[in-house]
């Protein structure tokens, strides 16, 4: 009995088009049957929020290094928030890629 792998992953990527042959370039956003957000927009959303956080943090660090009236705890909180946002983006990417690979490995 072949257990269907990663049912949850398949439902998390409703727009993934299963191109026979399974090349990496097949990861193209397509109108999914579920109508949910596609993979490309999900990843670009996460990266956009990450770059915003990073801009704020570098601005704060520059002002602190220049001697501006910036509290040290604000700088530390900003760096920690940015680190967590970055780790979250990495984990999201890992899970999405892992789910994609499991779907690609399905025998048709």
């Amino acid at each position: 009995m072949i257990a269907l792998p990663a049912i949850g992953a398949a439902s998390a990527l409703p727009a993934l088009s299963l191109v026979p042959g399974g090349s990496a370039s097949a990861l193209a956003p397509a109108a999914g049957a579920g109508g949910g957000p596609n993979f490309g927009s999900m990843l670009s959303d996460v990266l956009g929020q990450l770059s915003n956080t990073e801009k704020n943090t570098t601005n704060l660090i520059t002002r602190a290094a220049a001697g501006d009236n910036v509290d040290i705890h604000d700088v530390m909180i900003a760096t920690q928030t940015e680190g967590l946002a970055f780790n979250t983006a990495v984990q999201v990417r890992n899970k999405l890629v892992e789910a994609y690979q499991q779907v690609m490995q399905m025998q048709m």
Binding site: D71, H73, D74, I77, Q80, T81, L84, N87, T88
Partner: protein, 148 residues
């Protein structure tokens, strides 16, 4: 409640404790000030910081259209900096330029032991808020480890 809002609670605590420390430092620095900053008559009066809790927005019940309910946690804010009206100590010094007609100079009503106790309290509260912040960060990192 997102991570930024959770950090915001401890961050408000850190800011208020820093401000409280600044007020204590100001009191200690002005322990011998016989004139006020704006040139008004009288010595420097001891400053006190009033700290108030802060609401984190409308309560869940209010958002749902019902009465009552407690607001979500929103941290703390500094309400005001007020002067302590207690009269200061009088020292007999007729030669002092700030002496009143009877020859007494009035020094600020600042007790160094009280200020030192406030200073230690502010420092410990600051550390406690930083510990809470670290605990929130550890929780977020533990969440990132789900599925490994």
């Amino acid at each position: 409640m997102g991570l930024v809002q959770s950090f915001g609670i401890s961050r408000s605590g850190l800011q208020v404790e820093r401000l409280r420390m600044d007020v204590v430092s100001n009191n200690i620095a002005n322990i011998n000030s016989t004139r006020q900053a704006n040139g008004a008559a009288g010595p420097y009066q001891r400053q006190m910081l009033t700290i108030a809790a802060q609401s984190g927005g409308p309560s869940f019940s209010t958002v749902m259209g019902q009465q009552g309910g407690d607001a979500p946690p929103g941290g703390v804010t500094a309400a005001s900096i007020t002067n302590d009206p207690t009269p200061g100590r009088r020292v007999y010094d007729p030669g002092n330029p700030d002496a009143d007609p009877t020859g007494y100079v009035i020094y600020p009503n600042i007790d160094l032991t009280v200020e030192m106790a406030d200073m230690m309290g502010a420092g410990r509260s600051y550390q406690a808020n930083a510990t809470a912040l670290n605990a929130i960060k550890n929780m977020a990192q533990a969440a990132l480890g789900i599925g490994h």
